[in-house]
């Protein structure tokens, strides 16, 4: 974990309630795909954990949905504003297990952390497929960004207003070597049942500190209690107690 004062360089609206924020100043921090950052937002007591969409050189990219007071205030940040951010939080995805044809599955604002993962896997010469699931056309984002990386990208919408109609589980390919998933709990539990290989899930939980001190975000796993912020947020399929 490192503390950095980052400067906002760009804000972009992706959908009615999803925003992309670019920040600069991560310096020597080494941020891994699947890790998150914890932002101090003025006048709010607790920091807000947000997954890393991309980290490249000095630049950090975050994509978040406005769901409450914290993200609403974050939306109002402008270029040149500074933010106190704790970086290098959480474990990140295990890239050594990807195999040659990894499958990335994201639902809604579960999509962003898979972008950095996709970019890294492509950089390692893997054949990456991504399924990006949304409710409807106006909520879709990042299809083009994934395609530009060279990722075979499938978009699904529940109402069929864009891409393939249905859930991400309706679009699972026949063959893949390993999977990485991030999204709402019902989606991830469905994937837990329907995926045919091993894989990893990135979880979300309300956090106090975000760096392992308060035990606010613990879950039970097959290997005992784990902190989503510290031993997670990425957990292997084999460790989760989702069989019920």
């Amino acid at each position: 974990m490192k503390q950095r004062i980052l400067t906002v360089t760009e804000m972009r609206q992706l959908t009615p309630d999803v925003f992309e924020m670019k920040l600069t100043g991560i310096e020597d921090a080494s941020i891994l795909p699947g890790q998150f950052v914890n932002l101090s937002i003025s006048n709010l007591f607790l920091r807000r954990p947000i997954s890393v969409c991309d980290a490249n050189g000095n630049e950090l990219k975050l994509v978040y949905r406005v769901v409450g007071e914290g993200t609403e205030r974050l939306r109002q940040y402008k270029a040149q504003d500074t933010v106190d951010v704790l970086v290098e939080l959480g474990n990140g995805y295990d890239l050594t297990r990807s195999g040659e044809q990894p499958l990335l599955i994201g639902g809604g604002v579960g999509v962003p952390p898979l972008y950095y993962l996709a970019r890294t896997l492509i950089g390692q010469g893997k054949q990456v497929t991504a399924i990006l699931g949304f409710n409807k056309a106006e909520e879709c984002f990042y299809e083009e960004e994934f395609q530009k990386l060279g990722v075979k990208t499938i978009v699904t919408t529940v109402d069929g207003s864009y891409g393939q109609k249905g859930f991400v589980t309706d679009a699972l390919p026949e063959v893949y070597s390993y999977f990485y998933a991030c999204g709402p709990m019902p989606m991830m539990k469905a994937l837990y049942q329907k995926t045919t290989t091993s894989g990893e899930f990135s979880l979300e939980e309300r956090m106090g500190c975000g760096f392992g001190a308060c035990m606010g975000c613990s879950i039970q796993t097959k290997n005992g209690p784990k902190r989503v912020c510290k031993e997670g947020p990425v957990f292997r399929k084999e460790d989760l107690l989702w069989d019920d």
Binding site: F45, L46, R206, C214, C217
Partner: protein, 305 residues
């Protein structure tokens, strides 16, 4: 003797700053950020006889000026703390540490206290009779003077190290509880633990915390904590460790002026992991501003004629 030096139950502290139990784990997360040996000491995660997972999530909520937690004493149990956590702690922290003990019966408290009393690294036993997030134990011991007396007396008889009774603010008469602990042989009192509160999720209309209620901490509770430290310090003849919403060196001075011999810092560590380091670094400058030569000079001055 430095300007910040103080003493707690016969043990010298380089400064009065003590990260509070439950906000500092067993120290390693923070040891990666700064040299935690600069602290007076720290109170490690509340430990019980048996391992506990604690409450379901969500365990954390926020409010203006603070937060609610309903962790529910998650800890690996005293044997694992002794076998795994304390040896790791020894590598990064070389001062006596404060062991925080919780339980669900007098026997539990005695068992856990006795086990930790035998550990060389443990300097004090802070007996948590004030956890608001567990049922059938914790706070129920700290809200009745007779129960408080019984637990503290039993622990005092069973151990050799200083016993600090950690009190709950969720009482009508803090003085009665504090005096019962003093009569039971407590070597010091620490207060306040968190204040019972709740939040409701507007979307669902249901409590935000899975446990329904949780403990409020952070700057929002500071004036309440200060008042209770003041009242307690005037009522007992043992040292008082003040805590509750302390965030700055200025807050530390207020706590000490109210009567605290040392000061615990809790929720501030969670939002700024460097909070205690900063407070310790800021203290001399802030003391200069108010003409304070030595911290011990100001203990309890608010209540003196």
């Amino acid at each position: 003797m430095g300007r910040l030096t103080t003493e707690l139950c016969g043990i010298t502290l380089d400064n009065p700053i003590i990260p509070a139990s439950g906000t500092f784990g067993y120290g390693y997360e923070f040891a990666q950020l700064y040299d935690i040996n600069m602290l007076g000491t720290f109170s490690f995660k509340g430990t019980t006889k048996d391992p506990r997972f604690g409450n379901p999530t969500p365990r954390i909520a926020e409010c203006a000026g603070g937060m609610l937690n309903a962790v529910g004493l998650q800890n690996p149990g005293v044997e694992k703390v002794i076998q795994e956590e304390l040896p790791k702690l020894k590598e990064v922290f070389h001062k006596p540490v404060m062991a925080n003990v919780s339980g669900f019966s007098v026997d539990d408290y005695v068992y856990t206290s006795r086990r930790l009393d035998q550990e060389e690294q443990v300097g004090w036993l802070e007996i948590n009779i004030s956890c608001p997030n567990v049922h059938g134990g914790g706070m129920s011991f700290g809200t009745d003077p007779d129960c408080a007396y019984e637990v503290i007396h039993a622990v005092r008889e069973a151990v050799t190290k200083p016993v600090i009774a950690k009190l709950s603010p969720n009482v009508t008469d803090i003085i009665a509880i504090a005096k019962a602990c003093e009569a039971a042989g407590a070597d010091a009192i620490s207060l306040i633990n968190t204040m019972l509160g709740m939040r409701i999720n507007l979307r669902t209309g249901k409590p935000l915390l899975a446990n329904v209620t949780g403990g409020l901490s952070g700057p929002a509770v500071f004036p309440v904590a200060l008042r209770m430290v003041y009242q307690t310090a005037r009522a007992v003849n043992i040292p008082v460790v003040g805590m509750g919403g302390v965030t700055s060196a200025e807050d530390v001075l207020e706590m000490m002026m109210a009567g605290a011999a040392a000061v615990e810092v809790g929720a501030a560590n969670l939002v700024n992991p460097y909070a205690c380091q900063k407070i310790i670094e800021d203290l001399p400058t802030v003391m200069d501003r108010y003409g304070i030569k030595h911290l011990t000079d100001i203990i309890g001055i608010a209540g003196k004629e």
